[in-house]
Symmetry: C2
Subunit: 329 residues, 2 copies
């Protein structure tokens, strides 16, 4: 592996000059610059990023902490983050926290130890409650969930509003016995609040509300329970795509017709939503925008660590499809 020394030798200059040229510093004559560039080319020299990172105390790596890449919402965000990072010459460490604050802590620390330039984090419940407790001291942007206890760049979607809108949509279409299944993560609680607000506004009461994990099986079990214990339920509101998938399985297994016998709605516009019949009414989260914004903010923060923290709230979009069309009275 050629080092900066080899380049210096070949170009007949000192290593500091090579460094200057490669870092696009001023005060280098055109002649010397050309010679150095030539040598770099001929030797196919690439600066050792580890050495550079050690000395310069900065790097072109980012950390991305998601709860689980297998959740299509996070898959999409991860992909888009990687794209934006690539455009800016950064690579990204992908870390799955599994909603586990131990793992989150570990990875956060690991990222610091590896001297990443910044971290993009979807915080666990615990971390969101007391962010100061994490005691992180590096450029960080939080997404998907807001945090308490510390001012930090944050990107959210309007969970309450969008849930309100989605619940409203059900109500306006004649559904009367609407149960809800929400994930026990920060977004789940917010969406539940929006849901309940819409219900309260028209004096409806949910036959059942279940809080559960962000997993298909959990959604399946919850829906099963609802449909058995509250057979009059005519619609199920779910707070994310995995729970929605599970709920749909349960509905199908019980032979209930969507939307005639039961309406079904949720979040995230993932591929299967339009593959099933009828296709699913959901709130689409702008994953691309979230990611783009996250990378933008982290870059800004890296450049200017003192910039006052920003909070960006993006809008979810209601996509009405067959799973929630108007009830025949």
């Amino acid at each position: 592996m050629n080092s900066i020394k080899d380049v210096a030798q070949k170009a007949g200059v000192s290593i500091s000059t090579v460094s200057r040229v490669l870092s696009n510093k001023p005060y280098v004559s055109d002649d010397v610059r050309d010679r150095v560039l030539q040598a770099v080319q001929e030797l196919d020299y690439r600066p050792n990023q580890v050495a550079r990172s050690l000395r310069a105390r900065q790097s072109t790596s980012l950390g991305l902490i998601v709860s689980d890449v297998c959740n299509p919402f996070f898959t999409d965000v991860s992909r888009a983050v990687e794209d934006c990072a690539y455009e800016k010459g950064y690579s990204v460490f992908l870390c799955n926290s599994d909603e586990n604050e131990k793992k989150e802590r570990f990875y956060l620390q690991e990222m610091i130890d590896k001297n990443v330039a910044g971290v993009i984090l979807s915080p666990t419940q615990k971390a969101s409650e007391n962010f100061a407790g994490l005691n992180v001291n590096l450029p960080i942007v939080v997404y998907d969930r807001s945090v308490k206890g510390m001012e930090v760049d944050t990107i959210l979607i309007d969970n309450r509003d969008s849930a309100f809108q989605l619940a409203n949509h059900l109500i306006e279409n004649g559904y009367k016995q609407i149960s809800g299944i929400f994930c026990n993560v920060p977004t789940g609680y917010e969406r539940r609040a929006g849901f309940e607000k819409a219900m309260a506004k028209v004096g409806l009461q949910a036959p059942q509300i279940i809080m559960t994990q962000t997993r298909i099986e959990a959604g399946y079990a919850a829906a099963k329970k609802i449909l058995e214990q509250s057979p009059l339920t005519d619609a199920i509101f779910t707070s994310d795509n995995l729970v929605l998938a599970g709920a749909m399985q349960a509905v199908n297994e019980l032979g209930l017709k969507i939307p005639d016998e039961i309406g079904l709605v949720g979040y995230d516009d993932v591929a299967w939503m339009t593959l099933v019949h009828p296709s699913m009414t959901i709130i689409r989260q702008p994953t691309d925008q979230i990611a783009r914004m996250a990378v933008d903010l982290i870059m800004q923060r890296i450049e200017n660590p003192k910039r006052p923290p920003l909070q960006v709230v993006l809008k979810g979009q209601l996509i009405v499809r067959g799973s929630s069309i108007r009830r025949v009275e």
Copy 2:
């Protein structure tokens, strides 16, 4: 940030002793070891991995290059790789190549520059044809696709065999006019070969075979074309989950009943396969095993760079579901 110096000072020893303790080297008295550990604890000291990596010429980072994390096959593999890496104390850089050899090259080089311990790669078509041309010289394991021109640790599934089996399944169930849609990636060509072998064995000829991109829209377009140009087609064989999704959309749009009017099969046991009606007959790829094996092999290779390369072929599993049940004659 505390450095090894601070620990040494606090413990009243030299930095080399601290280094020894932290690297679990022998020849340290219990007394000193305890004092060092104590100091580490009190200072909440964490070794700077960048410095360690620079000096020791090794790191606890891995590179994982997939063509697109959004493809559920790669999502699953990525997740499992990350899990295994985590267990072994490694972090992983996630890189999307988009089947683009330029991007692949860039990332490979980037990983080298960042001094990763090894790379787990799903090579592009180009790279698979002439792997030696990549000129990589670091621990690497290739998965999903075999490569020519160089001996390298490789993890595959039996694409030809499983495709043969899947095609055979269609044939045995009375399908006679079987078209195929294959992705123009190495696995696509292999699966096509298995498909054609099964067809040839019983003297059948595919009404149409289309090679296309690994995208839902591409599958949709291909299936549309097949169903319009070869209306007698009674089954479509697809080579992966995205194309299958697109094909299913086309079939639905044309109002054809699965499996009565058209059989439909493909690869990858992703979530929606059992969400749709009827559920999909597919070959399940053992993503967990692939990932586990990949991390195992890369660890072995890191420890012993001279070990002769291994090629592991895992078996895909035929999962028969409703989309391909026996035809009524």
